[in-house]
């Protein structure tokens, strides 16, 4: 397990072979381009071929992909006559398709076909939009006329003549009664009411002289006169528009079918997109090259172990090239390439969430992984849950393909399940069932499992607390030890003794003092060890300051760090707290279910409570265990020796959205 040593590659080549060389470098999957240093007398690299429409191509490809995916969804929703709608199957974990490098390079040969398909898709999409607008136009007219559907004359007939007013009006529904009452008393007026939606629709026919008398009342009742130009009756109109809508929908279905015929192109479109994505990135990176009239220089980071392979590939590509490998120096900011064995690798997910290691750091993954594994089990604390978790997660890993990052997290949880199984056996927790009671009732399995138990945390909380805090002290001292080892590696042995050694003396001294029950002499020794630790701290922690008083003063204030350590140690009591929480909730679920299973009519609910309750308990506590465990690693462990701040090594050509190049 290690951080792989990086070195620098510097390459001088002919400009006309630039693209070939870059393609070869991409194929090695082992270089990350960087800015070329020195050579200030040369200009920065620019591209001979000005592909300014690269970005335009990318956006056209993106929208084509989107059009196809939308159309797939739409046509899945549609039901064609007699056919069942086809469900679009989405994989459980999204994963990129893998292709060979040749396939990747060759996709530009199909560029013409791909872009003609893209153009067709674009015009189809425009037409779809037109259809959509047409349909909504028709629908809004239908909405307008719906109110008047009971009228059986053409709507443009409501026009005044020389002496009469023929009016089509509406009125808010609540004024219907006042309207009726008013016009009942009137003479020489025809009023015909129709049912509207939230409104009263009525036709008013009266003489123009009478109207002046009516108009005030009508305005009071907030009437409004409606004018229409249509020369058909409402029902005819509604029918016509509905027919139009149906017709457009048919055309739309046909158009969707036409779009879907391009579906086989989708993977090629995605590949071309990935290709151009890299092309855009390369164009950006070329600004970091240096160039002369016909040559160019580039620099890249290469892992030391890949130097041979890179050299071979480049030499195969062209003999007209000058390659030079050199050591990383202080100014470089190399990316970090971490390599670990299969057991430790998943825990990189935990560390990377905090920060990947920087190139000069020690790789913390092994230690963080071991502690994470141990603590997870204590936090989840039920062997039954651990068993279920491990089985489910390993099944997921086996059956489904998934991205690297997801795989790491699920493996961590699966391993956590194993840890939970171990600790749960030791604590005697199996799905919250009380083993002693079950063993008394004659279950042989329970008796066996009971014999594996060490102690029950609920019955002996002090022992549990001591265990948790003890583990905490161990991790803190381990972290300090790593810091000391790092200092010694850098040659600062004296610093290691003063900074780490003095704290060790203090801790060990206190530890010995606490062992008074084992031997009379140990506390005495412990006292002296602790005091020597304290004295050493006071004397050395201020050594950076000037003047004897400042030195001693700073030394005393450094003792405040003891409070920090106490806080960190007590923080480990969350191991106990979380384990308690999951155990107690499991107990509650069992008690509830027991109550229900006792009666015949609630028995089914009892089973549901068991499954849902324990499932919920597992879910919430796995989340809690993962997060709190991570927090312990970051805050209490990493703070002792780890700075992080690195960035992961991303090989040139690997950042593809839809594919992985083999």
């Amino acid at each position: 397990m290690a951080i792989v040593k990086m070195s620098k590659l510097r390459l001088l080549g002919l400009k006309k072979q630039q693209n070939k060389i870059l393609a070869a470098l991409q194929q090695t999957k082992s270089i990350e381009l960087k800015k070329t240093e020195d050579f200030d007398f040369l200009a920065s690299g620019t591209d001979i071929h000005n592909d300014e429409d690269l970005n335009e191509k990318l956006s056209r490809l993106t929208s084509a992909i989107h059009i196809l995916e939308e159309a797939e969804k739409q046509s899945a929703l549609q039901k064609t006559e007699g056919e069942k709608p086809q469900k679009v199957k989405k994989p459980l974990f999204s994963v990129r398709s893998s292709i060979s490098f040749n396939q990747f390079k060759m996709i530009t040969e199909n560029e013409y076909e791909i872009f003609s398909a893209v153009s067709e898709l674009e015009s189809c999409s425009e037409k779809l939009l037109l259809f959509k607008n047409e349909i909504s136009k028709h629908e809004s007219i239908i909405e307008q006329i719906k109110n008047f559907s009971e009228i059986d004359v053409p709507l443009n007939m409501f026009k005044d003549t020389a002496n009469t007013k023929i009016m089509l009006c509406t009125l808010p529904a609540e004024f219907e009664k006042p309207l009726t009452e008013f016009f009942e008393k009137q003479q020489r007026v025809i009023i015909q009411k129709y049912k509207g939606i939230g409104q009263v629709v009525f036709v008013l026919i009266c003489t123009k002289e009478d109207y002046t008398a009516f108009s005030e009342k009508l305005t009071q009742l907030s009437f409004s006169r409606i004018f229409f130009d249509y020369d058909k009756t409402p029902s005819e109109l509604i029918n016509t528009h509905k027919q139009q809508i149906e017709y457009i929908k048919e055309q739309r279905a046909a158009l969707l079918g036409k779009i879907m015929r391009h579906k086989p192109m989708l993977s090629d479109i995605k590949l071309l997109y990935d290709y151009y994505n890299i092309a855009v990135y390369t164009k950006e990176q070329k600004k970091n090259f240096k160039s002369s009239a016909s040559t160019f220089i580039l620099e890249a980071f290469v892992p030391e172990e890949s130097i041979e392979a890179v050299q071979q590939t480049l030499k195969k590509e062209t003999p007209n090239i000058l390659i030079e490998f050199s050591e990383i120096n202080e100014q470089d900011n190399p990316p970090t390439y971490v390599r670990n064995n299969a057991l430790v690798k998943p825990f990189e997910a935990v560390t990377d969430m905090y920060s990947p290691p920087s190139h000069n750091d020690r790789d913390p993954n092994l230690y963080a992984g071991i502690f994470f594994f141990i603590f997870f089990g204590i936090m989840l604390s039920d062997a039954g849950y651990g068993l279920v978790l491990a089985i489910v997660c390993f099944f997921l890993l086996k059956k489904f393909s998934m991205e690297d990052a997801t795989r790491k997290v699920i493996t961590v949880i699966a391993l956590g399940g194993i840890s939970t199984l171990l600790w749960g056996t030791v604590f005697g927790g199996w799905f919250g069932i009380d083993l002693a009671v079950a063993a008394d009732n004659g279950s042989a399995l329970a008796a066996f499992l009971n014999s594996l138990k060490w102690f029950n945390p609920l019955e002996e909380p002090l022992l549990m607390m001591a265990l948790c805090l003890g583990l905490g002290v161990f991790q803190i001292l381990f972290g300090l030890g790593l810091k000391g080892a790092d200092l010694i590696k850098k040659g600062k042995t004296l610093d290691a003794l003063m900074d780490v050694g003095s704290w060790y003396l203090l801790f060990i001294g206190i530890g010995l003092m606490a062992l008074g029950s084992f031997s009379k002499s140990l506390p005495e020794i412990g006292k002296y060890v602790a005091i020597s630790g304290l004295v050493l701290l006071v004397l050395t922690q201020g050594r950076e300051k000037k003047g004897i008083f400042a030195k001693i003063g700073k030394g005393f204030t450094s003792l405040y760090g003891i409070v920090g350590y106490i806080g960190d140690i007590i923080s480990y009591s969350r191991l106990f707290g979380l384990g308690l929480a999951s155990g107690v909730v499991g107990l509650i679920m069992n008690t509830l279910a027991n109550l229900m299973l006792g009666t015949w009519y609630l028995a089914l609910f009892g089973v549901i409570v068991l499954i849902v309750g324990h499932g919920f308990n597992i879910g919430i506590n796995v989340l809690g265990a993962y997060v709190h465990n991570s927090r312990l690693q970051y805050v209490e462990f990493f703070s002792r020796f780890y700075t992080g701040g690195g960035r992961t090594f991303v090989p040139y050509g690997s950042k593809l959205k839809y594919h992985i190049v083999k």
Binding site: G567, F576, G577, L580, V627, R631, Y634, V635
Partner: protein, 161 residues
């Protein structure tokens, strides 16, 4: 047998668990709001923001432990002790530091957590410093928890025989 003393101890447990729980809930909620805002702009910072959100949650944990300790001392899983009034008051007062201390420090710790999430937004590389600043407030919750622990755990309780 359950006496007034026992009930007083239970009140103490209730306060310890509830008040520190409320404090943590408020604290984690406030930090969660800030974290959601950050993640809406930069989804890649989710885990770090989530971690900062969790930091004010410790007080609830301490309160739970003190409450649990009280229950252990009055032997809740077996024959509940019949505490004298004075012993009951002792348990009650012992829980107060964790209860009130947890409540108030959690709320203040969340203020620092929210600011740290803002720090994470502007300078993601200084995330650790924000975390350290937030953890500083926890020191006082810790002091409160320690004092509660000593008062709840150390003295011998008297029962009514």
């Amino acid at each position: 047998m359950i006496t007034t003393g026992t009930c007083l101890a239970i009140i103490g447990m209730v306060l310890a668990v509830l008040l520190s729980g409320i404090g943590s809930a408020i604290g984690v909620a406030k930090a969660g709001q800030a974290a959601s805002g950050l993640v809406s702009e930069s989804p890649d910072k989710f885990m770090k923001a989530f971690l900062l959100q969790l930091l004010p949650g410790t007080q609830g944990l301490y309160g739970l432990l003190i409450g649990f300790l009280v229950l252990m001392r009055i032997n809740i899983f077996g024959d509940v002790l019949a505490l004298t009034d004075q012993s009951g008051y002792l348990m009650l007062y012992g829980c107060l530091p964790a209860a009130l201390g947890g409540l108030i420090t959690a709320i203040y710790q969340s203020k620092v957590a929210v600011s740290s999430i803002g720090l994470l937004a502007k300078r993601p590389e200084e995330f650790t410093k924000g975390m350290m600043m937030t953890v500083m407030v926890e020191t006082y919750a810790l002091f409160a928890a320690i004092m509660s622990f000593i008062v709840v755990f150390m003295p011998n309780l008297q029962t009514i025989s």
